[in-house]
Homo-oligomer: 398 residues x 2
């Protein structure tokens, strides 16, 4: 009999968003006449800009003719896209090289698969609350997790504890789910801690494009020393509306080298390259064509129009919560608004309350960790009309 | 210091096809005037059919308008594509359900990532020669591999040895690299062996569309009992020319259940669903739209035109080898021709010999295992003109 991976038995039965989908589907089935507004899953709703659309069509056309047909591409990603990303970072004041950029089908794959790079016995720090993939992907490997508290006490921005040694640290900024954003000094403290502990920071910058405050870092590599201790994951999902088109990228610095137990030098850039060329065959050529366009000045200007639209939604939701004197985080430099459930309600109870009484779907904070037990996440990714309608319903209900 | 996955130190420095690319690039640089013909990497060259192209454009158009915009799709794959695959199997005489079909970005990802499902301590059987991903993905997990010989003695079709117990068995038919195809009775023997040993067959059917002999099984699920012991991996890469567009699928039967060490039932279908919904975010919507069209009768008729073209190439290469009295396998029901290197040459030497003297790139058998040391693989995926030119050069050289 095959020995299966029994770590799977320790996972919670279903992934947070599947559970939400189940509850919503049940409600909709029982209340087919109700107009349910989803501000739950962080999924974009605006169509792609014309620059990207044209490039996607071009990509399809290339596959229709023998002269321009593209077969297997580099597992690492096409150079035209990697260079477009390098240029985008440069415009944001950060220097990386094309050799450090790996294209994939999305940040979720990469943040999950990165666990392949590590052996057992690491002290792994994950903030609570957190994006569930960090936890589940480690649990699938039987890895122990050390949680660090993110709460009202630190404005949901966990900071290093010099008395705790860590080997691997997950940081997401702008944060999913809390919308909190680390400033330069705070990230510098993390980088210094990582260098001192010889640790690796796994930095998720999936929401960097929502930062408009020029003083806030949009990449961990804006911090001195980070190239010796950090990997950055990013995605076109929220930057360019690619949740359906699928494209992400991971930056693994060439300086990121450690020593094996037998004294051999191991380069994480080389290891990730080996992983991807063995267990991945590159992102779709069509999608990479579109993605490259998103990083041009013209393409990014269109992306930023969409982002501005979502941020106005966020501002409107935040304003409503302010008026109601409800404590909240995010809403600026982030598509997420994270607020305290009224009347000390627990978040799944508040989820059901909101669904049943206002037909609004949000995400219960408990799904992100114990520090989310009394918190709730709303996203700004709905369309304006729905968002305003939801705010009106909230205004009546709360 | 983080403990890295030191199993990576046991991997050969570079993936077979990267090594080939390096040697070819070096040769081209040193001989810029030479016309190098590649019959090496199994990559298609014909453009996609108009049915698929139209559907891909439609997919792009859907993303350009708010009314039809698609965000996150099901990690499992869109139902329209899963049902198209179920229907395709039905037309080929095999019953599967949409719940058993998982869409991905390619079979390489799935055959690599499937190792996530298994614990340590399994007896893993892999034929020698073999597609390198099976070996490398297991080595990355520190798993021990038991090789089974495929050679002239069994026409490169390894059969079960009743004296050896196995837990996990890799089978690829039509085989990459040898082009050998199992018949119904032979696969039945494997299924019976797996059922008796409570083992799992990981069946790679990436080349099933090249089978024209109606007596040869195109799916492991054409064999009675296979739903209790097999997972099937397939891809649109060779079926529909999607090596650049990227789409594959994996069939995990709902009946595939085993017992944990603590006596709990574990369903591989549920585990794979959990793995994919945690570490994957679905294949591109655009690509899935195109893929669904490939499985319609009209779409598949266009795919089969391309396949017929490649098979004619294979026939021409096989004819040349026959005339030269060179022992070969494949070439029928397969895009690959696997032949003995002349004069007992070793395969990397023959690779260099062929590159230097006939400017033909093939794949040295040694890259697939020790039983390939004196063998060489050519593919039929070139265009006709190049293939004929390559045959003329071979005719002169051999």
């Amino acid at each position: 009999m095959p020995k299966l991976n029994e770590n799977y038995l320790n996972l919670k039965e279903s992934y947070l968003f599947s559970e939400i989908a189940n509850r919503v589907n049940k409600y909709k089935k029982e209340n087919p006449d109700k107009n349910v507004i989803s501000l739950g899953i962080g999924d974009v709703t605006l169509p792609l800009g014309s620059e990207v659309i044209d490039a996607l069509h071009e990509g399809v056309n290339d596959l229709s003719k023998a002269e321009t047909f593209m077969g297997y591409g580099p597992e690492h990603g096409y150079m035209f896209l990697r260079e477009a990303i390098v240029d985008y970072y440069k415009r944001n004041g950060v220097d990386i090289t094309a050799e450090e950029v790996f294209i994939s089908d999305g940040a979720k794959s990469d943040t999950g698969n990165i666990t392949d790079m590590f052996g057992p016995g690491n002290v792994i720090l994950i903030p609570d609350p957190t994006y569930p993939v960090y936890v589940d992907s480690n649990m699938m490997n039987g890895r122990e997790i050390t949680y660090m508290d993110a709460s009202e006490k630190n404005d949901f921005l966990a900071m290093p504890d010099k008395n705790v040694h860590a080997d691997i640290i997950y940081i997401c900024s702008p944060n999913n789910p809390t919308g909190a954003v680390y400033n330069h000094a705070q990230l510098k403290e993390w980088v210094d801690y990582a260098l001192e502990n010889d640790a690796i920071i796994l930095f998720d910058s999936a929401y960097e494009a929502f930062i408009s405050d020029p003083d806030l870092p949009r990449s961990i590599f804006a911090i001195e020393g980070a190239k010796k201790c950090a990997i950055e994951f990013c995605s076109l999902s929220k930057t360019a509306g690619f949740t359906g088109a699928r494209c992400g990228y991971t930056i693994v610095p060439e300086d990121l080298k450690f020593t094996s137990s037998t004294g051999k030098e191991m380069s994480l850039n080389a290891m990730w390259n080996r992983r991807q060329s063995t267990k991945f065959n590159g992102a779709s050529y069509i999608v990479q064509k579109g993605a490259a366009k998103a990083f041009t000045k013209e393409g990014m200007a269109q992306c930023q129009e969409n982002i501005a639209y979502y941020k106005e939604n966020a501002r409107l939701i935040a304003e409503c919560l302010k008026e109601k004197n409800i404590r909240f985080y995010g809403g600026i430099n982030s598509p997420y608004i994270w607020f305290e459930c009224p009347n000390n309600m627990e978040s799944w109870d508040f989820f059901d309350y909101l669904l049943n009484n206002a037909q609004i779907v949000g995400t219960p904070g408990a799904g992100f960790g114990k520090n989310g037990t009394h918190y709730f996440r709303l996203t700004s990714f709905g369309n304006r009309e729905n968002t305003i309608e939801a705010i009106e319903r909230l205004n009546k209900l709360l």
